[in-house]
Amino acid sequence: MREFIDGAEVIARGAFAAGCNFFAGYPITPATPILLRMLRELPKVNGVGIQAEDEIASIGMCIGAAMTGAKAMTATSGPGLSLYSENIGMAMMGQVPLVIVDVMRLGPATGGATTVSQGDVQFLRWGTSGGFPVIALCPSSLADCFTLTQRAFNLAERFRTPVFIATDKEMMSAQQSVDTDTFEKIEIVNRVSAPSDAEFIPFHVKKLADVPAFAPIGGEHITRFTTSMHDERGMLTKLRANVNKTSRHLWQKIEAHRDELEFTQLDAQAGAPTLIVSYGITARSMLQAARNARASGKLVSTLVVQSLWPVPERALHESFRGISRIIVPELNLGQYRLEVERIAASIDPRPKVIGVNRVDGELITPEEIEGQVL
């Protein structure tokens, strides 16, 4: 049965379905609708929702809460994400399960508060110091908002790392009719708990690609958290061997598990020379463009990228085979096209990569994309 709702409502529902019980945020257009829903609903699950004094405190409170065992989420837009930056790095270093929703609006700086954009795509990847890998999911439908929000929590728990939901003003604020009773409820994943009968070493892993077991602050074990370079006991260290191990561990615990992190939807048409690759709100224009193009007798395939980071390289690579022309529509001046071009360069013969881009605060129309389909 259908409802008439927006993406903010569905992200909140997805968060509750995944077991979210803590939210801290600071009002910012166009992410405020998520804040308001979480603050209103969290008392119902014995959770806590708070409006913090700024974005730094928002993510700080979430990190503190997450280390007591809470499933925490925060939501913001570009200017707020900029203020999150240092704490995003800390959440990576301290291995904090955390979901961060970025409702993209036109930047840089205050930019266009009520204007749609996909300008944070590379910022999400490289938005904190150190260059370590992040996970970012990107919904292009309300059903995706529900599934990918649950998945974001699950991945945050599984890998003990911040996971982004990259969305935008239109996805969050436009109302849409949707069959909500077909939304997919996925199995909840919880962080692995440290056994109570063994000594607890906060950052101990057997292999670099493993994720350390968790003991909450206030639980059976005395635990240690640190933002600084540390050994497996969470003690500050400058010893090369320890530093090297911690650094490579933070890299490998994501990179070695790429097969768990690739989410795409390929709609391949046999013999199509053209593939359109897109994500988020722009993927909808792409799908409409493909429908129109096919109706007029053209052959075209589409790929919706649901996991922006790490780049789903295997899925991209496979979908590029036999393709001579790749169109990448996005609401920025070619940020994800860089990734597509990088992977296209390994295909022989190398497909031509074409961007369709807008940065005027309007959506890319299906006609603009269809115009590039030969």
């Binding site: 049965m1 259908r2 409802e3 008439f4 909140a12 509750f16 803590f22 609903e41 969290l42 008392p43 119902k44 699950v45 014995n46 806590v48 913090a52 004094e53 700024d54 405190a57 700080g60 409170m61 990190i63 503190g64 809460a65 280390m67 007591t68 065992g69 809470a70 240092e86 704490n87 800390m90 508060a113 009520t114 239109e170 604020s173 436009a174 109302q175 849409q176 009719s177 909500t180 009773d181 602050i217 206030g218 639980g219 059976e220 074990h221 005395i222 635990t223 240690r224 958290f225 933002t227 600084s228 969470g234 003690m235 909808r284 224009s285 409409q288 309007e362 959506l363 129309t365 299906p366």
Partner: protein, 442 residues
């Protein structure tokens, strides 16, 4: 009976020597913190030491309680999150005067909220770790690495700042105070926000740079006319507990319950129809557009709605876009409306792009006073108000009801149902009257 063994120390016995410079007061204060914890006999599992950055940031490693070492200036935010999520914990923040400066905003908000954490400021009047630069508490005239000619800035009164903003317990003293362990105990046992401003000697920098000693430390406090001892004791409700008390009756209520819209009517619409309502804020444009979409859904159609209006309320334009169709709508933008309703001058100012994109097969509905100002190739139809034009509040509803009928979008009964769904009786009646007034105007 279970014998509870007395805890004689909270120190990490594997690390019995602090790493601080000779004569640094940090060691003294940490010993007094340990003495205070021993007096409380708190279960170490329920104690969290949250450290900031700077020399004091190393302190948590010397205790056998839960430890959280975070970013510079943000210790109070982590402590607040920990306390909010688990109010049973005793959360103690150790930060320097550096962290107080960069994180001052968090400090005064924690005091204002009266969140039940204890903050101990290791106030040695300068940045020790980075080489003796001045901090927010460096006295006027003092020589530091960054104020070689003497500090021109005046120091922050930390205690007065948190006290005036609602802290439950505030104390100022020095690392040499005999009563410090007892005052730390008082602070830990205070349900709300507590802070101890503990003045110290930085023997690496501040002491040699200013020919400073224990005697001068006390003299500086007196010279700045800063009082010492317990400066505030209040009994405000603690935030984490107050939150739970307030939300107790919310538990178990349904979370974001669905509101399904069931098909009851039939629509003759065959093609996706893009509708734009261009009116004024305060004119119920957004809610009318919503009724248009819901009316379509009640008639089995798919719908989307986007709204655009200034950040202010009740002034300026309000433009809403609705798309109705037989299939799910992928692209939600409207470049070329099939129907555009020009309701007010504010609305008209927002739609010249759409008007010029429209063609003869499309329709502009307009209020009489703006009809001549509209330039478009689209078919133009003017509302013919029977007696008087509708009020600002009913204009959008009346005009849209007329369009629903005129363009045969879906049965008017569906629109009537949509405008009353979930509305209070008096609003529903007002809305129905506005629809009633639409008869014969097109």
């Amino acid at each position: 009976m279970l014998k509870i063994e007395e805890i004689t120390t909270y120190r990490n016995l594997e690390r019995n020597r602090y790493p601080f410079c000779p004569g640094c007061s940090h060691s003294l204060v940490l010993d007094q913190l340990n003495a205070a914890l021993v007096k409380t006999q708190l279960d170490p599992h329920n104690v969290v030491i949250v450290t900031d950055i700077g020399c004091v940031g190393m302190s948590d490693q010397y205790f056998d309680v839960n430890a959280f070492h975070g970013l510079h200036g943000r210790a109070v935010t982590y402590a607040s999150g920990i306390k909010l999520a688990n109010p049973d914990l005793h959360v103690i923040v150790l930060m320097g005067d550096g962290g107080t400066g960069i994180g001052g905003h968090h400090l005064l908000n924690a005091a204002r909220r009266n969140i039940g954490i204890t903050v101990i400021v290791f106030n040695n009047l300068n940045f020790g770790m980075t080489g003796g630069e001045h901090s927010v508490t460096t006295p006027h005239g003092a020589s530091t690495a960054s104020t070689r000619l003497g500090n021109l800035e005046r120091p922050l009164d930390i205690c007065a700042t948190v006290a005036v903003n609602g802290a439950s317990f505030v104390y100022r003293g020095t690392a040499f105070d005999k009563e410090l362990p007892d005052r730390i105990v008082d602070a830990i046992q205070t349900p709300g926000f507590s802070l101890l401003d503990v003045w110290e000697l930085c023997t690496a920098y501040y002491v040699p740079n200013n020919d400073f000693s224990k005697t001068e430390l006390m003299q500086t406090m007196a010279m700045l006319e800063l009082p010492s001892g317990v400066l505030q004791k209040k009994d405000y409700p603690e935030l984490a507990r107050a939150y739970r008390d307030q939300s107790a009756d919310q538990r178990g209520k349904p979370i974001l319950p669905p509101s399904f819209i069931e098909k009851k009517y039939d629509s003759a619409l065959t093609k996706p129809t893009r509708i734009l309502l261009a009116g004024a804020a305060g004119g119920k444009v957004k809610s009318t557009a919503s009724a248009l979409a819901v009316g379509g859904m009640l008639s089995g159609l798919w719908a989307t709605q986007r709204d655009d209006y200034p950040t202010t309320v009740m002034s300026g334009y309000s433009v809403s876009e609705v798309i109705l169709g037989r299939d799910e709508i992928l692209f939600m933008g409207i470049e070329e409306p099939d129907i555009l309703a020009v309701l007010t001058a504010e609305g008209l100012s927002q739609v010249p792009r759409h008007l010029s994109a429209m063609n003869e097969s499309q329709t502009v509905y307009a209020v009489p006073e703006l009809a001549d100002k509209i330039e478009t190739r689209a078919r133009k139809i003017v509302f013919n108000w029977q007696r008087a034009a509708p009020s600002k509040k009913s204009l959008a509803l009346t005009a849209t009801a007329a369009m629903v009928r005129h363009a045969n979008l879906f049965p008017l009964d569906a629109f009537r149902e949509a405008i009353t769904l979930g509305q209070r009786a008096e609003i529903a009646e007002e809305n129905l009257k506005a629809v009633q007034a639409s008869e014969g105007i097109l």
